[in-house]
């Protein structure tokens, strides 16, 4: 931190404890300008209030547990530089939307994992098209691939999605992106049928209204919106095929 300058921020933090109404606490903090927003939140915890609850673990965008909203927009605070905000700025720190709130800015991430299990997330590893020697092999009929393992399951896309806000049963961006990976990488017809059945539903693929917010907030290059557009094409084509080949 030799060349780091002090960066002052005012954190306006959403507080909720189960037996009282939510409110905001204001914590002035000072961190090096090379710090990230998560460091600032930890500073607030350290200097001001040890009852402030927030989820965090790895501090380098790998565990996906610290997702929250800064000034209304979903961020992974462990990799969001404080320098993105002016010295002296006020940051409103709020929990992710569309998740059950446990306390303060800590949410219960189970809706995310329930959805990943619906699309059979464990099978994704099986489709990993990289061999030990590093040479890429593509399954038959697959032209290219994105490593869906890029997804760190942070849930920012579920918080940002307007359809997620409207429909509690919506499958959501991340699970649809995972479903697209299964269809793109698996030739197991039973598995494909199950996925197609799952996503072709009012609470599935068709609840997406193409606002592209999932892709905008994704801290990696998962790009759920593009995956969903590919799914729409696949499912619409299947529907038409079925219509004419009964």
């Amino acid at each position: 931190m030799l060349n780091a300058m002090a960066h002052k921020l005012i954190l306006r933090v959403y507080r909720y404890k189960p037996d009282r109404e939510p409110y905001y606490d204001t914590f002035p903090v000072e961190v090096p300008d090379t710090a990230n927003v998560l460091d600032a939140i930890e500073r607030a915890w350290d200097d001001h209030d040890r009852t402030l609850m927030f989820r965090h673990a790895c501090h380098h965008a790998s565990c996906g547990s610290c997702g929250l909203r800064v000034n209304g927009c979903e961020k992974l605070p462990c990799v969001t530089p404080v320098a993105d905000y002016a010295d002296g700025a006020t940051l409103t720190i709020e929990p992710m939307r569309n998740f059950p709130l446990i306390t303060d800015i800590a949410v219960d991430a189970s809706p995310l994992f329930e959805r990943m299990q619906l699309v059979g997330m464990p099978i994704i590893r099986e489709a990993e098209p990289l061999r030990a020697d590093g040479k890429t092999i593509f399954p038959e009929g697959v032209r290219d691939f994105d490593r869906f393992e890029n997804c760190i399951e942070c849930g920012l896309c579920l918080s940002a999605c307007p359809s997620m806000a409207a429909d509690p049963l919506y499958l959501g961006p991340v699970a649809l992106a995972a479903a697209e990976r299964v269809l793109a990488t698996s030739s197991d017809s039973a598995k494909r049928s199950r996925i197609l059945e799952l996503i072709d539903d009012e609470h599935g693929l068709w609840r997406c209204h193409s606002a592209w917010e999932c892709t905008e907030v994704c801290p990696y290059q998962v790009n759920p919106a593009e995956a969903i557009m590919r799914l729409k094409r696949i499912v619409a084509a299947e529907k038409f095929k079925r219509l004419f080949h009964r």
Binding site: G72, C73, S210, R233
Partner: protein, 133 residues
């Protein structure tokens, strides 16, 4: 020691999808799409109701035609045309990307749609007011 934590149920607000604070252009397009949709549906039914003047008879309809040629009505027509163009061109964009066409270019298409909307609306406005003047 274990602590039992009961998560608070998700507080979904039905109109949360209308909240564009902190959001990007895709969300703005989505909200504009819905607002124009609501406006156009209201207009469609208003239009059908007004057409009932035709059933009433020649004098009722021709009376409405005279009223509809006032500048205030013509200005409303221009707003209607902006709504139709914005909704229609954005709808075309969403249909194309939903069919997998031009997906990485969706933002470019959005801007093209916006420019076309403004240009065609301007031309229509000129045509409408020139015809009157």
């Amino acid at each position: 020691m274990s602590v039992e934590v009961e998560p608070k149920p998700v507080g979904r607000k039905p109109l949360q999808w209308f909240d564009v604070r902190g959001r990007r252009v895709g969300m703005w397009a989505y909200v504009a799409m819905r607002l124009s949709a609501i406006g156009l549906v209201l207009y469609l039914f208003l239009h059908l109701v007004i057409l009932s003047q035709l059933a009433v008879g020649p004098s009722a309809w021709d009376g409405f035609v005279a009223l509809a040629k006032s500048p205030a009505f013509l200005a409303l027509d221009v707003i209607l045309i902006v709504g139709i163009l914005a909704h229609g061109l954005n709808g075309l964009r969403l249909t194309l990307v939903g069919l997998g066409i031009g997906v990485p270019r969706h933002k470019t298409m959005l801007w093209i749609g916006l420019v076309l909307t403004l240009a065609l609306a301007l031309l229509s406005a000129l045509a409408i007011f020139a015809a009157e003047g």
